[in-house]
C-alpha cells in the first residue's frame, strides 16, 4: 500500500510524468504482442501450459526491464527473451522428476485435426534452433535479419537452419503420410 502511494506521488511529480506516459506506451506495445507470443510459444513448446509459463516469464522479465529498455523493436526483444527462456528450459531437461501437466492440452484443432497433429509432430523432431527459426520466419513472419539478431548468429546461419528445418519437416510429413496411402 505504502509503496503504491509512493509510486503515484513519484509518478505525478512533473519530472516523472513524461516517463510515466512513455512507460505506459511501452506496456501497450508489450500487451499487443501477447497473442502472437502465445502462438509462438505454443508451437515452440507444444504444451499449452508450459507455453503460457514461457510467455508469463517473458512478460515478467520484459516489465522488470522496462526502465532499461532504450527504444528499439519491442517485438524482436520479446521474441528474443522467449526464445532464450525456452533454450534454458530445454537445456535442463536431462534429469527430472515426473511433472504434472496441468491440463490435457488437446490440439486447438482448426484445419483437419490430423494435419495439425502431423505438423506438431514434425516440429517436435527438429532441433531447438531450427524449430525456432522455422517458426519465427514461417509463423511469426519475421525477417531473416530479425531472426539473426534474436538468435545472435549471422544471416547465413539463419538461412541454413531454415533450409535444414524445411527439408526435415517436409521429409517428416511425407514419411508419415506414405504408409497411410499404402493402407488405402
Amino acid at each position: 500500500m505504502r509503496q503504491l502511494g509512493v509510486m503515484l506521488d513519484e509518478a505525478f511529480a512533473p519530472d516523472n510524468f513524461c516517463k510515466l506516459v512513455s512507460m505506459s506506451a511501452f506496456r501497450q506495445s508489450v500487451e499487443a504482442m501477447i497473442p502472437a507470443l502465445r502462438r509462438y510459444a505454443r508451437a515452440l513448446a507444444r504444451d499449452a501450459d508450459i507455453a503460457d509459463d514461457l510467455v508469463q516469464d517473458t512478460l515478467v522479465r520484459a516489465l522488470r526491464s522496462e526502465r532499461l529498455f532504450l527504444g528499439g523493436d519491442v517485438r524482436s526483444w520479446l521474441y528474443t527473451i522467449l526464445t532464450n527462456l525456452n533454450k534454458n528450459r530445454r537445456r535442463s531437461l536431462a534429469r527430472r522428476p515426473q511433472f504434472m501437466p496441468l491440463l490435457d492440452n488437446n490440439p486447438d484443432a482448426s484445419g483437419t485435426e490430423a494435419e495439425g497433429r502431423d505438423i506438431a509432430r514434425a516440429l517436435s523432431t527438429l532441433v531447438e534452433e531450427q524449430r525456432s527459426v522455422l517458426l519465427l520466419v514461417m509463423l511469426e513472419g519475421l525477417s531473416y535479419r530479425e531472426v539473426a539478431d534474436i538468435q545472435g548468429v549471422p544471416i547465413g546461419t539463419v538461412m541454413s537452419r531454415l533450409a535444414r528445418a524445411r527439408a526435415h519437416v517436409k521429409a517428416s510429413l511425407e514419411g508419415e503420410r506414405a504408409p497411410l496411402r499404402r493402407v488405402k
Binding site: 534454458n88 531437461l93 482448426s110 505438423i119 509463423l139 525477417s143
Partner: protein
C-alpha cells in the same frame, strides 16, 4: 539488368518464398521455377507447410488471454499471482491428476528447475528417515545455522518460523547442488511429519510456484531473486504442503 542465365540457388528459393528476395530477381526465379518442376514442387511444399502451421496455431491468437498474463496484473501485483498459480496448480492437479500421470512423459517444468527438484527430493528422502543425524546444525542453534548457511551459500539463508503451521525447526545442513552449495533445512510437527526446505542458486530469476511429484514425495517450488526454493513433503496432503509453502513464501517476501 539481371542475367536470366545465372542459376537460381537454394537460398534464393527460400528467400523467394519468404519475400526476402530483391524485387529485380523475382522474375528470374519465377522463370526458373517454370522450367524446373522439382524446384517448383519444393517451393509449393514450403507454402503448404506454412499454411499447415497457420492452420494449426493461429487459433491461439483468437483465444482469450489468460488472466495470469494480463499486463495490469503483472505490473500492479507482481507477487499476488503466485498464490493464484498455486491454487490453479492444485485445482488442475486434483481435477486432471489421473490424466497427468498418464501423460507425464510429455511435459516438463519450465526454465531449468528439473535438476533442482530432483536434488531437493533426493535430499528429502535421504535425511528425513534419519533418526540420530538428520541435520548438521540443530534447530536450537538457529542463528548460528542461518549465519553459517548464509556465509557458505552466498545468499541470505533464513530458517522461517513455522510454529503457526505446527512445525518446529529440526535444523539444517549444507549440501552440494549442480549450481554450487545448497541449503537444506528440516522441520517437524508434533506428530512426526517432516518437511524440508532446499534452496540453491538459479538462473531462473523469478518463477511462479509450481508443483512436482516423484514417487511418494511432492514439492512446491519457486524462484525469487536468483534463488530457487523447494518445499518437500512425503505427505499426500497437498493442502498442507501448500499451507506450509505459503507460510515460507510470505516470510521470504518480508525479508526482501
Amino acid at each position: 539488368m539481371t542475367d536470366r542465365n545465372i542459376p537460381v540457388t537454394e537460398d534464393e528459393l527460400h528467400a523467394y518464398v519468404d519475400e526476402e528476395l530483391p524485387a529485380e530477381r523475382r522474375g528470374d526465379v519465377e522463370a526458373w521455377l517454370a522450367a524446373h518442376p522439382d524446384d517448383a514442387a519444393r517451393v509449393q511444399s514450403w507454402r503448404t507447410m506454412a499454411e499447415a502451421l497457420h492452420a494449426r496455431y493461429d487459433a491461439v491468437i483468437d483465444e482469450a488471454v489468460p488472466k495470469r498474463l494480463e499486463i495490469e496484473r503483472l505490473v500492479q501485483q507482481p507477487r499476488k499471482w503466485v498464490y493464484g498459480a498455486v491454487a490453479a496448480t492444485l485445482a488442475a492437479f486434483i481435477v486432471g491428476g489421473g490424466v497427468g500421470w498418464l501423460a507425464h512423459g510429455a511435459t516438463a517444468a519450465p526454465s531449468g528447475l528439473q535438476t533442482f527438484t530432483v536434488h531437493a527430493i533426493e535430499a528429502h528422502r535421504l535425511y528425513v528417515v534419519e533418526v540420530r543425524h538428520p541435520v548438521e546444525v540443530p534447530g536450537s542453534e538457529r542463528s548460528h545455522l542461518q549465519q553459517w548457511l548464509t556465509k557458505r551459500c552466498g545468499w541470505v539463508v533464513r530458517a522461517p518460523e513455522l510454529t503457526g503451521a505446527g512445525l518446529k525447526l529440526v535444523g539444517g545442513r549444507l549440501l552440494p547442488s549442480s549450481a554450487g552449495p545448497a541449503s537444506f533445512m528440516m522441520y517437524e510437527s508434533a506428530s512426526g511429519e517432516r518437511f524440508t526446505i532446499y534452496t540453491a542458486k538459479s538462473d531462473a530469476g523469478a518463477m511462479q510456484m509450481r508443483f512436482a511429484a516423484e514417487g511418494r514425495e511432492s514439492t512446491l517450488f519457486w524462484a525469487d531473486d536468483g534463488v530457487v526454493y523447494a518445499v518437500v513433503s512425503t505427505s499426500a496432503d497437498r493442502g498442507r504442503l501448500t499451507q506450509v509453502a505459503q507460510a515460507i513464501y510470505d516470510q521470504m517476501e518480508k525479508k526482501s
